[in-house]
């Protein structure tokens, strides 16, 4: 009897070629695909938004976002995805749908989106210039500060965009894109970034 391997393959595994891309010299943009995460859509049941928020607070120690924001905890990010709903992004199974089911029992409906998205982190001097080609959102620091989030579109594709904590003094933008669109959007991203020089990588860590 054959034994089967159920290796995972990220939606960008074929398209992503780690290393430099585009213009030579100092790269203006770093693109990193974050692989293998848990992502759970939490939607309040009718009239239960308060209970859902309380349940989130008990679980994560922070209030769930009620406006377009992303709230980070030590081991999860809660990202607004619409009225009375948010996404829980984490790694390692601690906040998987199975783990969260009892937390939100009765207050919210959960839907596993762990495999439905690809996660791309964008940073570098030219990150905003490059994102301006894809997104109609104003990403100026005064407008889109750390923790700002948007449910928006890029290249006619739905995207959840949020600004994470700065890294080495530079802004970090995160894009959650639909998995089946990811490769197509990736090529558009590379087209838009090539002039700045890109460092491409992937990571198992946020």
């Amino acid at each position: 009897m054959a034994e089967f391997s159920w290796d995972v393959r990220s939606p960008l595994e074929r398209a992503l070629i780690a290393g430099p891309y585009g213009a030579q010299g100092d790269s203006g943009v770093a693109l990193t695909e974050i692989r293998n995460f848990d992502l759970v859509q939490v939607m309040a049941r009718r009239g239960k938004a308060g209970e859902m928020i309380a349940a989130a607070k008990a679980r994560f120690g922070v209030a769930a976002p009620e406006t377009p924001k992303a709230i980070g905890t030590s081991d999860a990010s809660l990202i607004w995805s619409g009225p009375d709903q948010f996404l829980v992004l984490s790694k390692g199974g601690k906040h998987s749908i199975e783990a969260l089911a009892p937390v939100f029992a009765g207050s919210a409906s959960l839907s596993d989106q762990s495999h439905a998205r690809a996660l791309i982190s964008v940073s570098g001097d030219k990150a905003r210039a490059m994102l301006a080609k894809l997104s109609s959102i104003d990403l100026h620091s005064d407008v889109f500060g750390v923790g700002a989030a948007a449910a928006t579109s890029m290249d006619h594709t739905s995207v959840t965009l949020w600004r994470g904590a700065d890294r080495n003094g530079q802004a970090v933008f995160n894009l959650l894109v639909f998995a089946t669109f990811a490769e197509s959007l990736w090529h558009t991203i590379l087209d838009s970034t090539a002039e700045y020089g890109v460092t491409i990588g992937h990571s198992e860590e946020f």
Binding site: A2, W6, V8, R46, A132, H140, T180
Partner: protein, 993 residues
């Protein structure tokens, strides 16, 4: 002499004399300098003739020094990069530039089509409409193509553009259009206040008219003030200066379109860079400081090469150190024109005469004339003697009736200035007339916009700075910025005194619109023929409809119309202003969305595995789906597809069906919700079971179908067709949020979460037992038809298994989280190897669904009812659902509706084609006898013949009837038999087995 920059002045100019650039015009080699435009380099080389006119092929030279140029249009670059109708006046010179004149054959100097000039008396406005009316059918085939060849602009490259373009968004508090004194002052005020500022300048150098006019600001020479101001602006973190960027449109909500010529000044964009970038700028406020455009005076011979706008002459002399002529005559009706005489004298050029149409000339100018030794003639230019080699002699009608002649090789003309009212009028605002400057100024500007400086009719330098600074400060304040704006830059105001003069009567053609060859007499003719409204004038004569949008001609045209129709200019009015302000390449609007990136594509989880196997992919919506998997030696698609179908029907195969829309329906009221959106009941469905469901539109027509399974009391897993996945999600969200907000139900798309495969064929269970944990019971009892539940796979992964069949065979669909999708495909190949497992594509899937009589897209075509599809009995009578009431309308339940039926040719060897019409035997094909058509066809390996489904009037009552399939598109007509739509295993034993 051409080629030696003989007309380059020995000093001055904003050119870099240390960087010589070689270029070619019409095959001849020339030199210019960095900082030149193509036009200024041609001027420096003494080239006067640069093009032939649109209709009459008259020789034309350079009229202006800016983006309003009507004449000096060239084909820039060659091969795939050839750009027709490029303005030499804005094309930045680069090393190796190649340009060619347009609309001439065989050469610019000797143009055969210039014989058109001899026929000029008949080429009047409306000539084509009047002349080429009969026979009507000749218009499209003969007349229009011939006219287009004769009257033309440049030639498109005709091949794919090798360069890339992109699009970007920008956001700011204040966008400022133009970097002349008003624009720079506005940027200073807004920038100092802390506002986020974008300054757009279409030129490659900042300064606007200061570059040509000079002047003194804050005690500094203009150039130094510009440098100091730009340095201050560049030091502000939130001020972005965009040169080579034209703001071309004003859209709703403070959105502006701009085109940035990122690399048009280079022969080829550097690697990885785009040629142009289209900007969408979102701004709270906009200051239009786009300046004004000097307007010509219409007189006979005003299109002779060497006749140039007075301001353009100043630009060529002061900015480019290039002399358009050695002995210059000036024709003006205003004070500003005199500055060209001053400039010419300062540059050491000769002034032949100044012809001033005004009654008086200032004492200062009189003394200038006497010092310069040239006459001041009161009157108007009535004719120009010259031709393709330029101006030779100018005839002047003096006030009082006498005539004079002036010998000159260049004629500068100033008829006054028209504020650039385009951007301020793009929201249908009509500019208003101001008598004191004899010009239209902005009125009814779009929300959030203000005009300043010359664009607002303020022609003095001091006034430009004041208005600009105040507008910039006000815009920043409105945007909530309150920083210290410092002191306002100051300068003196020049006097602008004008006596309007539009048209000098005389013999010979006097051009209003030089790009479209519209003359003053065309305008008069239009008035005589009743085309008196400016909008009619425009369309009848094509005045202002060329690529320059009449920037130099519209006002003169309507002024002449006003004169001949006895109305005032404001009564006559302007035509509607529409974007774009300058032509914008379609490529810039496309951006990166071209070729394979024309639209986004979606890939299934097993895409790369299928590609490795050599699958042929088909575009279905945005998806790339494996259509079939050809094997070596197979001669065509039909052979591959037939093999795949036979393999499934006799063994086992699998197909990636992840493209189906998948929706999690959660909540205590999920069942009640589904009862309302489907025609059949779902609240009664047991947990662990699936059911086929059909949705109607509100009007009773079928919307979509699919299988929905109940995974828990409060959790259904709904599937849609591939085509309608997004639309059904929208529809259900609308139902949830708007129609039934009282229901406690939550929807989430999980289309991308699950990789789903259909496994079909009599050996399906054998294959599955290899891959599923041995503890799972897959027997008919343990997993009956339409069962649905989670199972454990060997190796520990959990999957969902659904016992549903589209093929008519024993079949399951299995889903795993999408990142395991490729592993699933590989493991199905391993597990199925002993059973000859065969991956199959969408063609085989389609064949099997037709053999089984399942309806799909061609039958769910937006016109069919559940009854038409043979599914009328599914409509529940025990509950309400969307479409229930409207589905009972008389026409939707009429007995003679076209309904789904099976169709097969009586000649088994004949190929059936979809689209063929069904006509009763013995009747004549035509609408009155048309009883339906063939919707879906396939070659059925089981029946060994072509079969199909069709929508046929009363089809189900006519099983066994022979009718005609009439196919006029393919010139076919043959007999077919109407039959049961389920060709294969009609009692369903195989899928239940």
């Amino acid at each position: 002499m051409a080629g030696d920059q003989a007309n380059r002045l020995t000093s001055g100019g904003l050119i870099d004399r240390s960087t010589a650039l070689s270029f070619r015009f019409d095959g001849e080699n020339f030199l210019g300098f960095k900082g030149d435009t193509l036009a200024s380099a041609l001027v420096a080389n003494g080239v006067k003739l640069v093009g032939r006119s649109f209709k009459y092929h008259r020789p034309r030279g350079i009229l202006t020094a800016g983006s309003e140029e009507p004449n000096a249009l060239v084909e820039l670059r060659s091969g795939a990069r050839r750009e027709p109708n490029t303005k030499a006046t804005t094309a930045e010179l680069y090393e190796g530039l190649e340009a060619a004149s347009q609309n001439r054959w065989p050469s610019l100097n000797f143009d055969v089509m210039s014989v058109n000039q001899l026929f000029a008396p008949i080429f009047v406005a409306g000539f084509y409409y009047k002349t080429f009316m009969w026979p009507a059918k000749f218009w499209e085939a003969i007349y229009e193509p011939a006219i287009r060849r004769a009257a033309g602009l440049g030639r498109a490259a005709g091949v794919s553009d090798p360069d890339h373009y992109d699009k970007a968004w920008a956001h700011c508090d204040v966008v400022i259009v133009g970097s002349g004194p008003a624009g720079l002052a506005a940027a200073l005020a807004a920038g100092r206040s802390g506002a986020r500022v974008i300054l757009c300048e279409e030129d490659f150098v900042l300064g606007g008219r200061l570059l040509a006019n000079g002047g003194t600001i804050d005690g500094l020479p203009a150039a130094e003030w510009v440098a100091r101001t730009v340095a201050e602006l560049e030091a502000l973190p939130d001020v972005r200066i965009m040169t080579r960027t034209t703001l071309f449109g004003v859209y709703d909500g403070g959105t502006y379109g701009a085109i940035e010529h990122v690399n048009d000044h280079l022969p080829v964009p550097p690697e990885h860079q785009v040629r142009q970038r289209l900007w969408r700028i979102v701004a709270r406020r906009c200051v239009v400081a786009a300046g004004a455009i000097e307007r010509p005076i219409v007189f006979a011979g005003n299109d002779t090469p060497g006749v140039m706008m007075a301001s353009a002459m100043r630009s060529y002399i002061n900015r480019y150190a290039a002399a358009p002529a050695r002995r210059i005559a000036l024709f003006t009706n205003n004070e500003d024109g005199w500055r060209t005489a001053e400039t010419a004298i300062a540059a050491g050029l000769q002034v032949a005469a100044v012809i001033d149409a005004r009654p008086d000339v200032s004492p200062a100018h009189r003394s200038l004339a006497s010092k310069g030794g040239f006459p001041v003639l009161h009157g108007s230019v009535s004719a120009v003697d010259g031709g393709k080699t330029g101006v030779r002699k100018i005839s002047v009608s003096l006030t009082g009736g006498a005539r004079a002649e002036v010998e000159a090789d260049g004629l500068a003309v100033s008829g006054g200035w028209n504020p650039a009212v385009g951007p301020t009028s793009y929201h249908r605002g009509r500019p208003k007339w101001r008598d004191d400057i004899a010009a239209f100024v902005p009125d009814g500007v779009p929300p959030g916009m203000a005009a300043a400086g010359a664009a607002n009719g303020a022609f003095g330098l001091g006034a430009c700075l004041r208005e600009g600074f105040e507008a910039g400060a006000a815009a920043a304040r409105d945007a909530g910025r309150s920083g210290n704006i410092g002191s306002m830059p100051a300068a003196d105001d020049e006097i602008f005194s004008i006596t309007p003069l539009w048209h000098v009567a005389g013999k010979g053609k006097a051009f209003v619109d030089q790009q479209h060859d519209v003359t003053a007499s065309d305008v008069e003719l239009a008035q005589r023929e009743g085309f008196q409204s400016v909008e009619h004038l425009k369309r009848y004569t094509t005045l202002g409809m060329a690529t320059d949008q009449g920037k130099t001609s519209n006002v003169a045209g309507l002024a002449i119309m006003a004169a001949v129709s006895g109305k005032s200019i404001p009564e006559t009015g302007t035509t509607i202003y529409r974007p774009p302000y300058v032509p914008v390449a379609i490529g810039a609007f496309a951006g990166h969305h071209r070729d394979e990136n024309f639209h986004a594509t979606r890939l299934t989880p097993s895409h790369h595995w299928a590609a490795e196997l050599g699958a042929v992919f088909v575009d279905t919506g945005l998806w790339k789906r494996a259509q079939w998997y050809p094997r070596a030696g197979e001669k065509d698609w039909l052979e591959s597809v037939t093999r795949e179908v036979k393999a499934v029907r006799s063994g086992v195969g699998f197909c990636d069906v992840s493209t189906l829309g998948k929706i999690d329906v959660h909540g205590p009221d999920a069942g009640a919700f589904l009862d309302r959106v489907y025609i059949n009941a779902f609240s009664s469905l047991a947990v662990g079971k699936g059911r086929y469901g059909l949705m109607l539109r509100e009007d009773g027509i079928v919307y979509d179908d699919g299988t929905t399974s109940r995974l828990a009391e409060d959790h259904y897993f709904l599937t849609t067709t591939t085509a309608k996945a997004g639309l059904v999600m929208q529809h259900l969200e609308f139902c949830r949020q708007v129609l039934f907000p009282e229901l406690d139900v939550q929807l989430t798309s999980v289309s991308d979460q699950w990789a789903q495969f259909s496994i079909a064929g009599p050996k399906t269970r054998d294959l599955l037992q290899e891959i599923v944990d041995p503890a799972e019971d897959l027997s008919n009892e343990g997993f009956p038809f339409m069962g649905a539940r989670e199972v454990k796979l060997r190796g520990g992964l959990k999957a969902r298994l659904f016992r549903i069949s589209f093929s008519g065979e024993m079949a399951f669909e299995i889903s795993v989280p999408a990142r395991h999708g490729e592993a699933m495909a590989r493991n199905l190949m391993i597990a199925g190897e002993p059973f000859g497992v065969t991956p199959y594509g969408t063609e085989a899937l389609g064949v099997m669904r037709i053999e089984k009589g399942h309806v799909a897209g061609p039958e769910l075509n937006g016109t069919t009812t559940a009854g038409d599809l043979g599914l009328g009995k599914m409509m529940s009578t025990k509950k309400d659902f969307i479409g229930r009431v409207m589905a009972r309308r008389e026409a939707l339940v009429a007995p003679n509706r076209q309904v789904v039926v099976g169709i097969k040719p009586t000649d088994k060897a004949r190929r059936l084609r979809s689209g063929a019409h069904i006509i009763p035997k013995g009747e004549t094909p035509g609408p009155e006898n048309d009883q339906g058509y063939v919707t879906s066809v396939c070659f059925s390996p089981v029946l060994d013949q072509w079969i199909g489904l069709g929508l046929v009037e009363r089809g189900r009552e006519r099983i066994g009837e022979i009718v005609r399939a009439h196919d006029p598109l393919r010139s076919e007509d043959y007999d077919v038999e109407l039959c049961n739509s389920v060709f294969y295993d009609p009692d369903g034993g195989r899928q239940r087995g």
